[in-house]
Amino acid sequence: MEGLAGYLIPFVTFAGIYAVLSLGLNMQWGLTGLFNIGIVAFAGAGAYTSALLTRNPSDIFLLGLGLPFPVGLLGAMLVAAILALFVGWITIRLRADYLAIATIGIGEIVRLVLKNEGWLTNGVRGLDRIDRPIIPRGDYGSNLVYMIVVLLLVLAVYLLFERARRSPWGRVLRAVRDNELTAMAAGKNVVSYRLQAFVLGAAVMGLAGALWGHFVGFISPEAFMPMQITFLTWVMLIAGGSGNNKGAILGAVVIWTIWSSSQILTGYLPNELATQAGAIRMLLVGVMLILVLLYRSEGLLSEGHQREQDIRRQRESGG
Amino acid sequence: MLEVRDIYGGYGGVDILNGVSLTVKPGEMVVIIGPNGAGKSTVMKAVFGLVKVREGTISFEEKEITNLLPNEVTQRSICYVPQTENIFPTLTIAENLDMGAFIRNDDYSHQVEMVYELFPILREKRRLPAGSLSGGQRQMVAMGRALMLEPRLLLLDEPTAGLAPAIVEDMFAMIKKINDLGVSILMVEQNAKHALGMADRGYVLTTGQNRIDDTGPNLLNNREVAEMFLGG
């Protein structure tokens, strides 16, 4: 039983972290139609911010303020939000494919900064000894407690975003996504709404990044595997149903299960192939992405399904 | 030659045409007029395969062509000139004509000559990009492009739309010339009066259905038509 729990708890924790990422992306793409391929920039910024805020300074690398965990999380969200505000202000007016390229650019630049500005980030050596709240890493129950923290945050983000989606604000976002001209004609400040959604989604991505850092205990520009994080999240969202918060979580769980299984399988590979495990998994991401587009582009829980539920709920409450 | 029998169809499952019929006999010029939204352009697009026909049949020279793809319809010697965006703007006039003749494998220089004779100003400007021309000249290029396959039936969608009144006259004259060369013409037009003056026969369409059809002169003298379209 110990062995199984030992495997399941990290599994659920990572699934939860990816669920938060998917929820953030859903806010940007599913709800508002903003195409962000630079997810890793916001998650990475969040991870580094939280690490720098909560770490105790060491002899090797001096930066670290030793602040408590919640401050770290909030700081992560704030920095990610500010980055998104800056990026969004420049690029939010762009067409979908231009925005995509611009967000790749942001991802690249953040990666370069993390790598080269060693005075702030310790460069390629990364930051270690990022600790956990309540029960420190290594102590009994630490994993379990941390998992619960992550799951609570997933729930919180989900409830918040669901509320937002069904609110008048959410309706305006969807109107903007579907028909910009009509929304503009109705007097809505399209740019402002999109920016709000972009920033909100990015803040949540920053949160996910911070959660990652505290879980793993070590972050570096390479450890933050852009390919994996950005594209896995996209696969998760498309598979689960973009436009759909429940779908985002479901997609995260399903795809993470497939991904973890592949990690187990490549673990069994003979040594020569094992070093290629990363490439095999990247291949898997690519294939999944294409399969999901060819066969499931509406997703497991489609937007239509969600809308039916909303209408039924409205009717039942006499609305 | 062309027989459209009681067709229903439209875009995305919504019917715009609710039982339209018309015919074009060899050598005729037939005009379709009617208020906006009546389905005039839609009929033409249905003949050319750009709009799905749900019910009813279309046949050309005794053979059925309902719901054929546009390039298949073109191969049957029917060519179509859309109302807007009907030229390749960055290509020269000569290249536009080349594109019209794309599916031909023979020497078509005689046809190019014919088009230049019909529209002399195009010969003069043939090395200029088509997008730099005036509205009337662009229409000429569009029509010239469609003539490159020597079609037996030419479909024209509002050829004088957006043209200055002085040019409208010339345009109609050129269309008449094309008809005189033996090309049957089915034309949708807003300039009802002028179009009917030239046409052999006309169809009046309202809300996707036939309203009146008669010969050109008769329609011109028809009181109802006059009230609806000819400004009284």
């Binding site: 195409f35 391929i37 420049i90 690029t91 007016r93 762009l94 979908a96 494919d97 231009y98 995509a100 390229i101 611009a102 790749i104 650019g105 690249e108 630049i109 370069l112 790598k115 080269n116 390919m227 594209f231 996209w234 498309i238 290629q276 490439a279 095999i280 990247m282 291949l283 991401v285 690519g286 294939v287 999944m288 992405l289 294409i290 587009l293 060819l294 582009s297 | 546009p70 390039n71 073109t74 191969q75 179509y80 859309p82 965006e85 009907n86 030229i87 390749f88 703007p89 960055t90 290509l91 290249e95 080349d98 594109m99 019209g100 794309f102 599916i103 990009p129 997008g131 492009r145 396959l149």
Partner: protein
């Protein structure tokens, strides 16, 4: 002064490679109507096919070039048939994401087949030409001349052949091209052919100038897009100028900022263009 001239030379070399990529990208964008994110990795693939031909089969570079290009084109056509074709009717963004998937597959396949260590074409030490204080490697001349030759050939093709004109027609007005009876499927095959011919050669030139490793193409994707956007995306001739501008800008920027941030220069230029003149700096002129 000499330093600036030297950087100018590097800039022209890089710019030529970027131009080869950007022109192909613009062709695909104009005719197939989507941003092809696998373009960089196809460049990498071309470079790696050449690696096998040159190192394992001992072919000289000049022969490896066309053979590798042909192989890369086949891969692109396969991707088109299996993935892009079924998705032709969907939104451009879906095709963009699909091309990202293809890019990942290509990159990982390259790593699996050829490994992730660095390779070179092993052409031996070259004696550079020295003029005053500037050095020019013979490879640099090969790259620039080769790029000019390829682009001139493409220009001739677009201007004078039936298929070339049809490609320009489709780029202008796809619906009208179909109405005219042009076989759009065939034109699409030719578009891939020419676009990927240029891209794979660009990849081989890049590997010749630097080194081979699995992400060289992907790293170039951002500057290539920047070049294409600068020239007006969908306009192959604009892309040539765009490539040179980005190449020169990136190299000259090292006078002021750290070389590690070179990609940031391309990105910054691109963002400026997107905000100020989204149609590209040559807006208003025809192909």
């Amino acid at each position: 002064m000499a330093e600036i001239l030297q950087l100018l030379i590097f800039g022209v070399v890089l710019g030529s490679i970027l131009a080869l990529g950007a022109v192909g990208l613009s062709l695909v964008y104009g005719i197939l109507r989507f941003a092809h994110f696998a373009h960089g990795d196809l460049m990498t693939l071309g470079a790696y096919f050449a690696l096998t031909l040159i190192v394992s089969l001992q072919l000289p570079f000049f022969l490896a070039l066309p053979v590798s290009a042909a192989a890369t084109i086949l891969v692109a056509l396969l991707a088109d048939k299996l993935v892009y074709r079924p998705l032709r009717r969907t939104q451009p963004v879906i095709l963009l994401i699909a091309s990202v998937g293809i890019a990942l597959i290509l990159r990982s396949a390259i790593q699996l087949i050829w490994g992730s260590r660095v390779h070179t074409y092993g052409q031996g030490i070259q004696m550079p030409y020295r003029i005053a204080d500037i050095t020019i490697k013979p490879d640099h001349i090969l790259i620039v001349v080769g790029s000019i030759a390829l682009i001139t050939a493409m220009h001739f093709f677009l201007k004078n052949t039936k298929i070339g004109k049809a490609m320009r027609a489709m780029s202008d007005n796809r619906d009208l091209a179909q109405v005219t009876g042009i076989d759009t499927d065939r034109i699409i095959l030719w578009t891939w052919g020419i676009g990927i011919l240029l891209a794979s050669c660009g990849g081989m030139f890049l590997a010749l100038d630097t080194q081979l490793h699995p992400v060289i193409g992907w790293r170039l994707l951002l500057p290539i897009f920047a070049a294409a956007i600068l020239g007006g995306i969908g306009r192959p001739y604009g892309a040539i100028a765009g490539g040179l501008v980005i190449g020169l800008a990136q190299e000259l920027s090292t006078l002021a900022i750290s070389p590690a941030y070179k990609p940031a220069v391309a990105f910054a230029l691109m963002v400026v263009v997107l905000i100020v003149r989204p149609k590209g700096i040559f807006a208003g002129r025809s192909i």
